[in-house]
Amino acid sequence: MYSKRILAAALVGALGVSACGANDQKAPGDAAAKPDKGGTLRILSESRTINFDPAKSQSLAITTLGLVHRRLTGWQNAVGQPAKVVPDLGDTGRTTDGGRTWTFVLQEGLKFSDGTPITSADVKWGVERSFAPAFGGGLGYHKDLLGGADYKGPFEGKELDSIETPDAKTITFKLTRPYGDWPWIASTPAFAPVPKGKGAEPDYQEHAIASGPYQIATYAKGVEVKLSRNQNWDGSKDQVRAGLPDDIVIQLGQDASVVSQRLAADSGDDKYAFGASFASPAQLAQLQANASAKSRVVTSKSGAIAYLALNTQKAPLNNVKVRQAFQYAVNKSNYQIASAGTAALAGDAATTLITQGIEGREQFDLYQTKPEGDPEKAKALLAEAGFANGLDGLTLVLNKSNNQTEKAEAIQAALARAGIKVTLRSLEADAYETETNLADNPTYDLTLSSWQPDFPSANANIQPLFATSEIGKGGYNISRYSNPEVDELIEEAQSTVDVGEAGRKWAAIDKRILQDSPVVPLIYTRNSFIHGSKVGSFFIADFPAYPNYLQVGITK
């Protein structure tokens, strides 16, 4: 009996190979298998909660939240192309005063899932709602620009004066300063419409009124969310969502390794499923052995930049020569093995701050060396800076929950070669965040981090990590880098409306910052995902390193 099962499994495997052989080379994603309309798609998620409340969400424009909610603008991403901002509910916006005032016009005939029309007032209400203390936790790049420091949301009866809705289709944002990337900001979750006057209840996320192709059918806390077709969604008025499956079931709290095993086995409902979390190195090694499963693994070409941040405000790292020594001291090759087993799965060694797939990115390397680094050169630079005997007593603080121990140990060993002695201090996630993002005078010298821009603009790569305003107080400038010249350049680039011109400015800033060496770029982290054999149009574009949920469908 058992031998029969094994034989059957082997046959299925063999068929899988022949069927997928044709597009083996086509990483990342199998564009060949064209999905049809209909069927039930399953998403296996490690997370316990899926937040369908736009105000509380930090979701990318192309993942779960996008299935239910449309936004003012959307993302178009494809393999081999930088991501572009495209119309969603509205157009991509226009400005007449150099980026200070932005006006968007909504399409005709848009409807919520309850049949009521979507107006500019509903978009405004959604943005205003994100200011309410009860609905915190989402992406808030718009808050400062809209001048809402003292605004506490629309439920106290006040409107946000910087947003105007002259008619049901037009919405105008008056910003506190010129901002060229505002159309990108308009693609963040808070710009999803919420019917005016609604959404005061804390569990709005469980029955949020939909504008996208799906509405929430059932929401079983911590267990499962079922999405069904929103009959009031009109595909012809939506260029970023394919809306192929009839139903989507999101299973919550799924153990990542079990998910990987289930999808590799590809039986029953799992044929129509994909895993929402990254496949771990162990899972990938395992999937390599199974030809069918291997053909269903999709690895991104690039991804978040992983970097070693140097605390530029603390001696001896306040010395630029010392910081430059770190560029040569690290061993990016060992870092790759520690993070994913092989360089191919871990991702390319990084030398720039702007990540791949972002408009305007330029490839350069100010500190050319071997992948293993050059400890001698590092020693020489340290000697030049007056540290001929190397450095001692540096602390590297790391986030325990991100599985960073092995990677930190790899960095520790590499720096030791150049006479830099480092002790590791691991903290739980929020203790880590308190130390790196909130503390006024943190004690760490080094820390490991990684950054994926929240929208596909070099601005989102650089400003949050290197502007003086982002030091402490919750900002992400964890190298505590402050350079008035760079601050000025950032402000100038941010206020540039022309995409091409802005891109060139950001590339120059990228180089300028790295001359000061506040961080050591390590790798552009690749993410791998696995899907069932009946899941089609499952691709990962150049940015972001996640599959585009909005295009996925079921194949026959």
């Binding site: 090694a285 395992q286 390599q288 520690a338 087993g341 691991s426």
Partner: protein, 303 residues
């Protein structure tokens, strides 16, 4: 209820080992692993590796898995190597034995010591002491201690020696069950003539405890201790399994097992060696403890 009469402990152990093959095998296993733990440094020196050094050359460059079959088992690496790091698994298991024994034995010492003292005090002194002890034991038994340990693991700073923390915490939460049994024993012993006599002669409670009670408690205490060591070792492994036990890079069987879950399908050797070690030591102590109990407890006719 009949009162257990303690046999001389060494005699009991001798007779158990002579008659009971299970207990004998268990003892041999425990002694062997104990020797491994004691001579961990020598053993790893013989093999030529330590549990901390990364070695990318022992890995398959295509996957990050150990190079070679059976998780890289070879004359060079006796138990193979860890995936992704290339650290020597034999060294990890052998040094893990040290961690397990140290924490298991020390925690047992703490919990049995506390349990005997508190239990004897409650049984002998009676009155409010007894009431307080019985009640606190209830509180402790009602305490979701695993949750609490997980919480403590998260709260205590990384600078605090983790092994000590585990010993104290695991040991501390173990006293109530020992105390209950000791209390019951002492309650019956108290009514026996030799104790009554000592008391009439004006012996202080501490003297009675040392010269009259303790000698009669050795048997059950030894059985309890033997049977509780595997539980303590298992608890350390479970906490490390859940990620709140011994900190890396200190080797621990539980953490290795936890890490091996992900790899089990491609590298079963990674689960096999630490898993086998944990199982063997637990089984050894259990078999020995069962034998001792049968020998020391005249009521028991199980074998």
């Amino acid at each position: 209820m009949s009162t257990p009469v303690a046999r001389s402990v060494p005699a009991a152990i001798r007779s158990v080992l002579a008659r009971d093959r299970w207990a004998l095998t268990g003892t041999v296993t425990v002694v062997l692993i104990a020797l491994v733990a004691i001579f961990a440094d020598v053993l790893t020196a013989l093999e030529g590796h330590d549990p901390y050094t990364y070695d990318a050359t022992a890995l398959d460059p295509a996957t990050g898995l150990p190079a070679g079959s059976l998780g890289g088992v070879s004359g060079e690496h006796w138990f193979g190597v860890e995936p992704l790091t290339g650290r020597d698994l034999f060294a990890i298991v052998v040094h893990g034995a040290r961690t397990s024994f140290l924490i298991g034995l020390a925690a047992t010492l703490v919990s049995i010591g506390l349990g005997v003292l508190i239990g004897a005090a409650a049984g002998y002194l009676g009155g409010w002491v007894d009431r307080v002890v019985t009640w606190s034991a209830d509180v402790f038994l009602g305490f979701p201690y695993l949750v609490f340990m997980i919480a403590l693991g998260a709260v205590v700073p990384a600078e605090f020696p983790r092994t000590l923390l585990l010993v104290v915490v695991i040991g501390f939460f173990g006293w109530p069950s020992t105390a209950r049994i000791v209390r019951a024993q002492v309650l019956t012993l108290k009514e026996r003539n030799f104790v009554k006599a000592a008391r009439t002669l004006g012996a202080s409670p501490w003297q009675v405890f040392r010269s009259e009670l303790l000698p009669n408690l050795w048997g059950p205490v030894l059985v309890m201790a033997t049977l509780s060591v595997p539980g303590k070792i298992g608890l350390e492994a479970a906490l490390s399994f859940l990620g709140v036990g011994v900190l890396p890079p200190t080797p621990s069987w539980g953490r290795s097992i936890s890490a091996a879950i992900d790899w089990v399908a491609v590298d079963p050797a990674y689960l096999f060696f630490p898993g086998l070690a944990l199982f063997a030591v637990t089984w050894g102590f259990n078999a020995l403890g069962d034998g001792l109990r049968d020998a020391l407890d005249p009521r028991s006719v199980t074998r």
